[in-house]
């Protein structure tokens, strides 16, 4: 048979592509539940790391079940808030429901549009509240969690992740514990006209409580993360400044 015939070539290529697509679709849909469970445990372990309940690597060793159990035992409530800081809903703590990356992405669009926001706040029994951030890094999305003390101003910890930042440079937002350790003890300042919190290239000015040093060699990732943090904190502003205790 003449395999160099045009018609044959087109049909052959089409059939191969359709077959491959079918195989991949089948595998992907059958493995989805397992992948989702892994992803959920991963997200929760990031939240727990930000809230200073042990380190990410320890959670990884303990396994998914331990992560979920610990979360269920220590979470007080997981609320959803709107732009004016009012509670509009709740995430089930019994099922350990959390916002994954895709939900954060959707909310990121809502924040930009200024409507339809349903932002999660994870409130732990020890008074720590964790809020997510999401934005664009250099090559792909960056996201993470910032833990706030009971005054909703002091940062007690943070954890960040990324999809495809350069390992060793932008990847340090995740891999370098020294980078995220900088957040501990800093605070958010909504009165700062530039940003409620910023990551400053060339080093944060000494004594500035709402800024940390950027990563050298990763200007765009640092800037992207800085913007992500500011945009999300501004979206939470009404909630964070309400201070119901006063």
């Amino acid at each position: 048979m003449n395999t160099n015939n045009n018609v044959y070539t087109v049909i052959y290529t089409t059939v191969v592509c359709v077959l491959v697509a079918a195989v991949l679709a089948l595998v992907s849909s059958s493995l989805k539940p397992k992948q989702d469970a892994n992803e959920k445990a991963e997200t929760i372990s990031q939240i727990l790391t930000a809230a200073q309940f042990g380190d990410k690597s320890e959670w990884q060793k303990k396994g998914n079940a331990a992560v979920l159990d610990f979360y269920k035992q220590n979470i007080a409530e997981a609320v959803l808030i709107d732009a004016s800081g009012n509670k509009t809903g709740e995430l089930s703590t019994a099922d350990a429901t959390v916002y994954g990356k895709s939900e954060l992405k959707a909310q990121n669009y809502n924040i930009k549009d200024g409507k339809g926001m349903k932002l999660p706040v994870y409130i732990f029994k020890n008074g720590v509240s964790v809020v997510p951030v999401y934005g664009a890094g250099l090559w792909g999305p960056v996201w993470g969690y910032i833990a706030l003390g009971s005054d909703l101003k002091t940062i007690s910890g943070a954890y960040f992740d990324h999809e495809s930042e350069t390992p060793g440079l932008g990847g340090k937002i995740k891999d370098d514990p020294a980078f995220r350790a900088q957040f501990n003890g800093k605070s958010i300042d909504f009165n700062d006209p530039k940003a409620a919190f910023s990551i400053v290239k060339g080093g944060a000015p000494a004594g500035k409580a709402n800024a940390i040093d950027a990563i050298s060699g990763a200007t765009m990732t640092s800037k992207g993360l800085s913007d992500a943090i500011d945009v999300w904190l501004q979206a939470y502003k009404a909630y964070l400044t309400k201070n119901p205790e006063e």
Binding site: N5, Y12, L31, E42
Partner: protein, 204 residues
């Protein structure tokens, strides 16, 4: 086992090693050899991808239209890579490793070894020898990866598979071993050792 089949299996591991002799697949061997665990998963992934895509392409070899053969090979390799990635993501034990290796699993598709073996071997040989050739090339690649990762993890972090070995003896970690250039230097050393043993590899 006949001599030809034996040659197919042993050649890629020793005399025709894809990394040290053909100098293919260098990029990923720099990136994933900081730790043994990552290197092992990467090695296994490449073995599976290389073997299976060689097998599939060899089965299809008489039907593939010559003008689009590279594209068809690419589709097959891409399918295998995505399958491996999906499977790694599904298990609790391998999920963190998959996250850590992240783009490099996907980048197996650009690993010259895989496409190179399909072009050079699988398209002209029967399925079984092609499968063995693919697997053997994967093993040849993985072997170097593991040797490099062994030295980098041992001297860079003082551990092996995350278990403290040298660091337990009060060894100070050598940060240079963690950096990518050290992988190149180590591969260079392996090539040196191999060429001084196998004299016929030396050029004049």
């Amino acid at each position: 086992m006949n001599a030809k089949l034996k040659e197919t299996i042993l050649n890629p591991i020793l005399k025709g090693n894809p990394i040290t002799v053909l100098v293919l697949g260098i990029c990923s061997s720099l990136a994933v050899t900081v730790e043994l665990k990552g290197a092992l998963v990467m090695a296994l992934s490449v073995i599976v991808v290389c073997g299976m895509s060689s097998l599939i392409c060899s089965l299809l070899r008489k039907t593939i239209p010559n003008r689009v053969r590279i594209i068809i090979q690419l589709v097959v390799v891409a399918m295998m890579v995505i399958l491996v990635d999906q499977v790694l993501k599904s298990f609790e034990g391998t999920y963190p490793l998959d996250k850590q290796l992240s783009v490099y699993i996907g980048l197996i598709i650009t690993n010259c070894i895989v496409m190179g073996r399909i072009e050079a071997f699988a398209l002209g040989n029967k399925p079984i020898p092609s499968l063995l050739d693919g697997l053997a090339n994967g093993v040849g690649y993985g072997l170097i990866l593991i040797i490099v990762a062994f030295f980098r993890e041992l001297f860079g972090s003082g551990t092996l598979f995350g278990i403290p070995v040298l660091s337990a003896l009060g060894y100070t970690n050598n940060g240079l071993m963690i950096l990518p250039p050290m992988a190149l230097i180590l591969i260079g050393c392996i090539i040196w050792v191999q060429r001084s043993i196998q004299k016929d590899l030396q050029e004049n």
